[in-house]
Amino acid sequence: MAELLRQAWAVARKDLVLELRTRTALVSAVVFTALVLTLFNFGRDPTAVPTLDLAPTVLWVTFTFAAMLTLNRAFQLELENQALEGLLVSPLSRTSLYWGKLIANLAFVAVVDAVGLPLFVLFFNVSVSRVLLPLVGVIALATLGFVAVGTLFSALVIRTRFAELLLLVILLPFLLPPLIGAVQVTARLLAGRPLSESVGYLKLLAAYDIVFVSLASFLFRFTVDE
């Protein structure tokens, strides 16, 4: 177990260091988030639709697309210089490779979300201070789920044509249950509803995470073995 974590951290750290040096994916994702939020704001008539109606959806669409951007880079950079083969030949276990990638992906998405959420509060003039902790909790729960599946699938598509597009298409159905839960809970939180009203959706998110993180972690070895 400790060995697994150590190896996973080694993989994650490599990705994080690489990204910190170039910052391309992060910057793109952050800029993209700001762009989308701005666009949504200008796309609507502020007098017609109460902000609170659309706000959760806008937030989650933005977060999801930004997450997709970071997922796409997960294995792409391994293709250069046959880095992937190098990783596989090393004594690294397949599972720790997955966890390393997952941790790195989650870290990237966390940064993007950390920038996106304040922007969202700013542009949409919603108050989140009272519900910040549960909101962050929901964001974490939902994001873990679809990034876990997305990390697995990004390994599936690396050698295919139109990999980024294919990734989005196969990931889409897997995004829906956690997103439904996330949007519904976010909506209730922003509307000041008690957390007890969201219990069903929270259980959905938790169950999804447990099932798919384990499943993805287990199935990963079949995507990279020859």
Partner: protein, 226 residues
Amino acid sequence: MSLVRRGRWITLVALVLLAGVYVRALAFTPIERLQGPAQKIFYLHVPAAIWTEAAMILVGLAGIFFLFLGDPRLDRFAEASAEVGTVFATIVLTTGPIWGKPIWGTWWTWDARLTSTLFLFFLYLGYLLVRGAVRDPGLRARYAAVLGICGMCLVPFIHLSVYLFRTLHPQPIILKPSGPSLPDSMLVTWLFSLLAFTLLYVGFVTQRYAVSLARDARETAAAEHG
């Protein structure tokens, strides 16, 4: 009898049975008083929906066994089941709106069955796209199995999220296709239709499997002599 001929015979029997169902449903089953003749779409829509989902579960199960046993027959079966499942999903997604328009006044409603089938349709699409995008047969089979297993595991979450959405968002009273309980005459028609669709699944999958078998044999022969 060769696989193809067996498949053709089963399909023929199924189509004849379906014709009988058509006659019985259209001419010899009573019209439902509240919904009118359009209710009879139910006899095609629901069995198709059942097999859309069953086919996905079978794709997933075949994937699990394939990953552990490595038998290419399981992969061929999964491929066949996915294609047939997609055809049935198309039936559900076309008859659903045609039924919905006169009954609910709108082409699309996010009702449980239609929404679940839409998710399943996206799952099938992704599965078939991945199969098409990976050239190497061994890799293709493994990737497809991974995706199929994830798809199968997603099915309960699809149902859960749709269920939560609908119970926490009361819909206008939906006219149930059967009213308080299904009268015998309607039940018999429905059961015959289910039987017809079951046979259609078996017949179609058998033929489609034979097509995959022949293609695999050609690929192996080409690889050996190439």
